[in-house]
Symmetry: C2
Subunit: 267 residues, 2 copies
């Protein structure tokens, strides 16, 4: 039985607040280096997912790609959005390789068909073989072909959550999902980090986030928490940490003290 840690490289490496299609290469370098350091001293396996920041989000919004084929330019819009996602995937994979980590793209666009946004066929064979052969699969938020709607979008969170719940359980155990963001975790009204979220306090957290200016309740942070609570129900812990603090990911992966929010099964 092998442990798998899923790591989402999110807003820390790409941001849609600044220049379009900008990667924070210094942060990406640092995070990959921290993964490298942990990986050489463990038998645990890693699957990486990255967000899309200003890469695929811009065409996805323009063409409403998540909604499917709704107008004449939806098909070309699907192609453009997916190409943008794959471009960023190349940058990330290439960075891992330059740090001597044998990373390989594993794209949900190439292995998943949905029907009305729900999984219909998923081909996990390549992913399982990559893990067996010592590769580090790198997936990302992606455009998925949808039997009914034409296409849709699955977020990185949704994809990692799907992987966590659909790996062969006789061989692999996903023990943790780590969301590496550009904030220090979930912050309360006084900007203190919420240490733990579970089904017990989820309503308070949601209300607090709705009331606090600057939080994006519909997408972003709440989406991460929702996907994480679903995983927590199945005993898979998630953490939301900042990738901007040097060695925070390293500490988190090494089970040392780190700054962030844990989403756990209520006790």
């Amino acid at each position: 039985m092998k442990n798998i840690t899923l790591i989402k490289l999110g807003g820390s490496i790409i941001t849609n607040k600044e220049v379009p299609m900008m990667v924070r290469r210094d942060v990406l370098d640092q995070l990959v280096l921290e993964i490298y350091k942990v990986r050489k001293n463990t038998d645990d396996l890693f699957i990486i997912g990255h967000g899309q920041g200003s890469f695929a989000h811009a065409p996805a919004l323009r063409y409403k790609t998540k909604e499917g084929f709704i107008s004449d330019d939806s098909v070309i819009g699907m192609a453009i959005t997916q190409d943008s996602a794959a471009q960023l995937n190349r940058i990330v994979v290439n960075n891992f390789i330059r740090h001597q980590i044998p990373a390989a793209s594993f794209l949900f666009s190439n292995s998943m068909v949905t029907k009305d946004m729900k999984a219909l066929h998923w081909c996990k064979d390549v992913l399982v073989q990559y893990l067996k052969k010592g590769l580090v699969p790198v997936t990302c938020g992606d455009v998925i072909v949808d039997e009914k709607k034409g296409c849709t979008i699955w977020s990185t969170e949704k994809i990692l959550s799907y992987i966590a719940q659909n790996m062969p359980t006789d061989q692999y155990r996903v023990n943790r999902v780590i969301h590496v963001t550009e904030v220090e975790g979930v912050l309360d009204g006084d900007n203190n980090i919420v240490e733990e979220i579970s089904r017990d306090n989820q309503n308070d957290i949601k209300k607090m986030m709705r009331d606090t200016k600057g939080f994006d309740v519909t997408g972003g942070m709440w989406h991460k928490i929702e996907e994480s609570l679903e995983l927590a129900d199945q005993g898979i812990q998630s953490v939301i940490i900042s990738g901007m603090n040097k060695n925070n990911l390293l500490n988190c992966l090494s089970n040392k003290e780190f700054i962030g929010t844990k989403i756990i099964l209520k006790r």
Copy 2:
């Protein structure tokens, strides 16, 4: 029943004779434009495959990626080779999109597992859905994870040939495979273009190619002919044409006169 034409963009758009990782962008532009012109006047479907020229061939040779995991650096070599292949795939897909053709990567690295270089699992769901939804799948020679050897390489020819033989026959008929190269077809000892190759004259052709200086009998052209003869046995015609002559691909696709070699079922 829908007709599918498979088009391999080979040495015409990328060459390993000149600068490493060089794409002949003017030739690629022209060929994509010719495909665009044909595509807008037909219901036929297209699947594109591109070779790797000096992109993935260089690391593939260095790490002997086709032979699998044979040394300590085979795993990182696999990752590097596949990343190079995927980089070129992005350039080609992006070119199609800029010509208003909704192209999408369909990578065999992400959908095929081999065992001792032979197909073990192939996930065709995404490919079939792409065709149904009006997308133009773009595949390429790729690194495949191999259950036994670790990894291997499938050439673009092998991949297109596999697709031709494994599409659902109740919905699709592959009617032709077009190899777009940098030569005008198969040339005889006097540099004349061989018009037709079939099981009838294959031995003469092979002998002639072995005797003629400048032909690569082990790989390149003979490999194309071999894969094509196998398809011819099943009634699928292949043609080898030059992509360097303007409108030659357009003429070939439009069933007008073109310069090249046909590989056909013997009559």
